[in-house]
């Protein structure tokens, strides 16, 4: 505290709430956002018969500096944050990405006219994390 007051010019009032602000969660914190599309928008409804609508969702937002268990983030995430802040700003901050998905069943028409029902893995984001 003594050093910090020596460093900072006397004019800046040392403000505790200012100091803690940096630990608050960011306004637009990392979370799952809704997104719904219909295959007719992509003009794919001629070969994708079902489902008509598909909600892949997506993750967006800033990752708090001290992520801890909140996002199921490994310790590496905090290390990466420290590298970005203290050592090398060219190293990116942790990103807000999907952590879990659910599958999707699709009914499509193949080019040879046969019809296929398929269940695809990892087609709908269901949970976000900071990595």
């Amino acid at each position: 505290r003594a050093e910090s007051t020596k460093d900072t010019p006397a004019t800046t009032p040392y403000n505790l709430s200012q100091y803690f602000k940096q630990f608050l969660f960011p306004q637009n914190e990392c979370e799952l956002h809704n997104f719904r599309l219909s295959f007719s928008q992509l003009k794919w409804d001629r070969w994708i018969i079902a489902p008509h609508r598909y909600s892949p969702q997506y993750c967006k937002g800033d990752c708090p500096r001290v992520v801890g268990h909140r996002y199921g983030s490994p310790v590496h995430t905090m290390v990466q944050n420290i590298i970005y802040e203290k050592l090398d700003p060219s190293v990116p901050r942790p990103s807000c990405v999907p952590a879990e998905y659910s599958p999707l069943s699709v009914l499509t028409i193949e080019p040879d006219g046969s019809i296929v029902y398929k269940e695809y893995e990892d087609m709908i984001a269901t949970k976000c994390t900071c990595r």
């Binding site: 079902a50 489902p51 659910s102 599958p103 069943s105 028409i109 006219g113 046969s114 296929v116 398929k118």
Partner: protein
Amino acid sequence: PHSRGRGVSGEPSGSLVAPEDTAREFNPLWWLPKGVRRGYALLPPLLKVLSERGHQSWESEVPGLRPDSRALRYMKRLYKMSATREGIPKAHKSHLYNTVRLFTPCSECKHRHRDLMKGDIHSVDLLFNLDRVTALEHLLKSVLLYSFDTSVPISSSITCTCHLSTKEHDFSSPVCPSVSHSVAFSLHFEVRKRKWVEIDVTSFLQPLIATNRRDLHMAVNLTCLMGDPQQNTDLENPVNVALVPPSLLLYLNDTSEQAYHRWNSLRHRRKSPGQPRQRSSPPVDPAGEEGKENSQGKRASRRR
């Protein structure tokens, strides 16, 4: 990931044409391992859209073969039974497949004759092209799917005898160029509002499909009579059914990474880090209280 095994056809699946060398490095499809690249109905179009800058829509690429409307109706019904409206696969215990392919015969030469004694004989030669089945899709069940409109009064029972034989060119022995396996079996079913009759031919076709056969040539001979063999011995009144040549339905387990594996998702959920541990239900001791429950209780709990 290394590509596991070859895709089936030499060409990438879907109607993607191998891009010229110049565009090759721009097409993300070519960076995928072969095993992933081919045989995937959904993947190539998604990648194609991503690799194209323009607004060209995929639909202009899909060549024309339109499926049979009855087949389409059946597959929509199967979709409704297998997935929710949002497209999430339903968790059925019996639902082991993650892929179902329906093939309509690419050519058939029908022979149809009536033999009053034997009823209405409907025999047809069918050729199915199975090019779309990838090497990573393993057969679980195969079914001949008959859809028929019949003038038979509702709630009468029909007994059909099906004689199935496949023809294959046995190049190893020039003497008898075509070898045919045949099987005959009878099936009895009630005609209610049923529009479909499924004839399970799994054991019969398994050896052929397991050898990655591309073309399946078979002759199907179906004789249908009214009545139930258990009740009256002499089956009379040949059923005048307008039989449409059957489609071939393959229930498959796709073992590639993109396909959804039920058992895998359970395992994955248990393993994923930072997951609040699922509170496991108290261990059911088969010999414990549960074991003593009487049959009604069991049935009721099962129904619940």
